[in-house]
């Protein structure tokens, strides 16, 4: 019962996957990472895991982390870390 | 310490126009003066002066050097952090930070974009905190080729030098 997820890559992941926007099927963030690994290899999954992951614009740390459930049409963004002020 | 302009000065203004720290003042055809508080003893004025009117604080007269023999900054791109101290120091605008080679390229360095403007004052070398800039004698290809010719045929070399002289005279007036 996986759903179609709109994925947006940033930073290193663009190079690793070769695209900026993507559509993957997964029912949770953890599964999405697995899909990432299956489709683009280990390096992509590793990079994805260390980025800030936002589901519909909200950090998964504020949700249920990797267990965050994904529904049809959800948007997931892999954001590079940043700093400044 | 500072360099000084002596009696021989005819007030041509060449040194004033090319001083990298704007330390020289004077009216045309009048004797020029170096501001001792500002002079950094880079010797640009002395290298330009056809009259040998610039001397060091110890009284040593600086020799004129043709522009083609001036050293040029060489930038070690591996060491350079593109902090732009050199670009900021270069009054003649000979240096720039390179443009990114591709989108998202952050690995850039300083480059000598206008070598003809460089007066070889060596401020860039002096101020670079990473020692990434060195002034190296004379550019590479044409001169080395000429040098080889010189060794082979002394006469031809002399011809070449005399042929090049009007050109170098024109380019001497860097900032007119």
């Amino acid at each position: 019962m996986s759903a179609k997820i709109q994925v947006k890559y940033w930073g290193e992941l663009i190079t690793l996957t070769g695209k900026k926007d993507d559509e993957l099927e997964a029912s949770s963030v953890a599964e999405l990472i697995k899909q990432l690994e299956k489709t683009y290899g280990k390096a992509a999954a590793k990079e994805g895991k260390r980025m800030l992951i936002a589901v519909n614009g909200t950090n998964i740390q504020l949700l249920e982390r990797c267990k965050t459930r994904l529904n049809e049409g959800d948007r997931v963004a892999f954001l590079p870390l940043s700093g400044g002020g | 310490m500072s360099y000084m302009i002596t009696e021989g000065c005819i007030g041509c203004g060449l040194c004033k126009r090319n001083c990298p720290v704007f330390a020289i003042s004077g009216e045309p055809k009048q004797m020029h003066r170096i501001n001792p508080k500002r002079c950094i003893e880079c010797g640009v004025c002395g290298r330009l002066c056809a009259k040998g009117a610039v001397q060091t604080s110890k009284g040593v007269v600086l020799q004129r050097v043709p522009k083609k023999d001036w050293p040029k900054p060489h930038i070690n791109e591996k060491l350079c952090s593109a902090c732009s101290i050199c670009v900021d120091s270069c009054a003649s605008g000979a240096l720039k930070i390179a443009m990114p080679k591709f989108k998202g390229d952050i690995d850039v360095a300083a480059e000598l974009t206008a070598p003809e403007k460089c007066v070889a004052c060596a401020l860039c070398e002096k101020r670079c905190p990473l020692g990434a800039i060195r002034l190296v004698p004379v550019p590479a290809e044409p001169s080395s080729a000429a040098a080889q010719k010189n060794e082979a045929k002394p006469d031809a070399g002399r011809d070449a030098a005399s042929a090049a002289s009007p050109e170098s005279k024109a380019s001497e007036e860097v900032r007119v």
Binding site: K49, R50, L52, A54, A77, L79, L81, S82, G84 | S81
Partner: protein
């Protein structure tokens, strides 16, 4: 020991005097904002209005400016805060500071008021007061074009001339933005200050220092924050991260999350507009954005500008923001306070209280509004007084988003409660950097403390405020201090177990931090991983500066500024936040999404060694060696 030389300039009488700072002052206060705070306490006539002729403004540098150390071009301007009436310091990265030092001066102490517009020209140890009547009325860009090309410049635009309360001073394309420095210059008729010289700033231990700088630059280049994130996305990269953590102020801080924030994010900026990244002189971090605007390459916006001219006014038009950023810079106006005041005016309109012709969601008319504010035209003259003034006239104090009168930066304190404490206690007012910048540890960085818990926030805020204060005082950019978040957390990422545990542990680190603060002078260590700045100060000045003493220097600085504010009439009652932050939960039904200021503030005072009224105790001052 090479002691700093200051020029004392009285514009009313035209008197100029060169004074050397005493060795005891230099050893104790080093330079920059710390020494400036001391000199303000010494020279500022008590109770005098910020814009009165008798007021004193100090433009000074730190010992590291111009030495070639990384990110060391920042100079400081200290004065009485136009918006708050307390102390103000503003930091800027243009070439002026370095040039002033090469011209033989470490600082200027300016008092009085000139009869006509004046250009203070500093060359080779001399100060000249030149007539600047012809420059008056020009914007900051044109003014600088009219000054000698090779000089380091510091100028004001129309906003400063017309005494806009949040006018800024501009050096090159860098801006000393906050607290109304431009208005103070304007009130004294100072249109421009320029400097040129060739005296290289003294470095005591040149050989060791050079080696140290090479190592430091390579450390900065290797660290993910300063070598990767900041050069790629600049501070603008924070938009998406703040948004993901619901800490991005939206609709005048009504919410913390904006659906379309990605349109004005640093990633989008880098993807669609960025021409190249650039830097202040001497900086290897290179966070400055360069973008094209009407066929001209200009400085791109920082995070604050994007957030406050974007989501905070319910808009997300990148083109308009680029233009507003540029217009604010040439008019000489602080983007944070300008945008904050406009957001407040928008909410006044939304609530039907007052109409300034600005409304949420609309940015197309704002460039015009900026010009009107800078020229104080008609009703816009009121917007030029800032949101505190507006709220006193029209009401709506509970949603006037300022602290002590200074508009808050673009971090939603209800999702970063430590930042809230910082806003409330910052000497300048609602400033993220003077407030300790806990937002970086709570909600926008790699490491995440519990952003809703008041636990340990008081101690951490004190520590961070002290550290940032000292970094500023020595002449460095605060970004060079961001390497203190270990690189390993960036490599593991925010979702990794270890990073999360580290955040957890730090949430409980309060007592330890307090202990460290107490024994600071005993920390005789210098390390790249803590604050490399201390070692740099040691090598340049010969003062025995180690991490502990360095943090203590910041503490001295913070207390000095506090003393000045208290003397000028601020009280503990000013250490506050608008009711929207402390009483209205950001998310309905989640009581923890408010700033528990009443819990944190007493702890903060206690950690600082202040009494219940927020006044430094005599014992604290003795400890810091401050004589009043």
């Amino acid at each position: 020991m090479n002691l700093p030389v200051y020029a004392y300039i009285n514009l009313s009488t035209g008197e100029l005097e060169k004074r050397t700072i005493s060795e005891s002052y230099f050893k104790k206060y080093i330079g920059g904002k710390t020494l400036a705070a001391r000199l303000l306490l010494d020279h500022y006539p008590p109770g005098v209005d910020a814009l009165a002729p008798e007021s004193v403004i100090i433009v000074n540098t730190g010992p590291l400016n111009g030495t070639g150390a990384p990110s060391s071009s920042r100079f400081n301007i200290s004065f009485k805060n136009v918006l708050s009436g307390g102390v103000a310091s503003s930091n800027c990265g243009g070439t002026f500071g370095v040039m002033m030092k090469r011209a033989g001066f470490d600082g200027l102490v300016i008092s009085g008021k000139s009869e006509h517009p004046v250009h203070i020209c500093i060359t080779d140890g001399d100060v000249e007061l030149l007539d600047a009547s012809e420059l008056w009325g020009l914007d900051a860009e044109k003014t600088q074009e009219s000054l000698p090309k090779h000089h380091g410049k510091l100028v004001i635009g129309q906003a400063g001339e017309n005494l806009v309360s949040y006018a800024s001073a501009v050096s090159g394309e860098r801006v000393a933005g906050r607290c109304g420095v431009g208005a103070v210059f304007g009130s004294k008729n100072i249109k421009a200050i320029s400097a040129f010289g060739t005296a290289e700033p003294p470095v005591l231990n040149k050989k060791k220092f050079d080696e140290f700088v090479v190592k430091w630059v390579s450390f900065l280049k290797k660290h993910p924050m300063t070598g990767d994130c900041l050069p790629h996305y600049g501070s603008a990269g924070l938009v998406n991260k703040a948004n993901a953590n619901w800490a991005l102020p939206t609709r005048n801080f009504q919410r913390g999350h904006y659906e379309q924030a990605d349109k004005v994010s640093g990633e989008t900026l880098a993807d669609t507009r960025l021409v190249r990244n650039s830097s202040c002189v001497s900086c290897p971090i290179r966070c400055e954005r360069r973008v094209m605007l009407d066929g001209k390459e200009v400085k791109g916006p920082e995070y604050e500008t994007l957030g406050l001219f974007g989501p905070n006014i319910d808009a997300c038009n990148m083109d308009d923001i680029l233009r507003l950023n540029y217009v604010c810079d040439i008019l000489g106006m602080d983007t944070i306070s300008a945008a904050g005041s406009i957001a407040f005016a928008m909410e006044l309109k939304e609530k039907g209280i007052a109409d300034f012709g600005v409304e949420f969601g609309r940015t197309d008319n704002l460039v015009d509004v900026m010009y009107k504010i800078a020229n104080r035209e008609g009703i816009y003259s009121e917007l030029a007084n800032g949101s505190k003034w507006l709220s006193e006239k029209y009401g709506g104090k509970e949603f006037a988003m300022h602290s002590k009168g200074l508009e808050m930066a673009s971090y939603e304190p209800r999702r970063s409660v430590g930042m809230g404490l910082g806003y409330a206690t910052g000497n300048r007012g609602g400033c993220h950097l003077n407030g300790g910048y806990l937002a970086l540890l709570e909600s926008v960085g790699a490491l995440s403390l519990d952003a809703q818990s008041p636990r340990s926030k008081a101690q951490l805020t004190v520590f961070m405020q002290n550290a940032l204060e000292a970094v500023s005082a020595s002449g460095f950019c605060l970004f060079s201090a961001q390497t203190f978040v270990p690189a390993v957390f960036f490599k593991l990422g925010p979702n990794h177990f270890i990073t999360r545990m580290a955040g957890r542990i730090m949430t409980f680190s309060g007592p330890l931090v307090r202990f460290i603060l107490n024994i600071a002078p005993a920390l005789w260590i210098n390390s790249f991983y803590l604050l490399p700045h201390a070692e740099a100060v040691r090598l340049v000045t010969g003062i025995r500066m180690y991490t502990g003493q360095f943090v203590r220097l910041g503490e001295r600085s913070f207390n000095l500024e506090r003393l000045f504010s208290l003397r000028e009439g601020l009280t503990a009652a000013d250490d506050t936040l608008p009711d929207r932050m402390t009483k209205t939960p950001q998310v309905k039904g989640r009581a923890d999404t408010v700033v528990p200021l009443d819990v944190m503030l007493p702890k903060y005072y206690k950690t600082r060694g202040w009494d219940k009224n927020g006044v430094p105790k005599p014992r604290t001052l003795r400890k810091l060696g401050i004589e009043v």
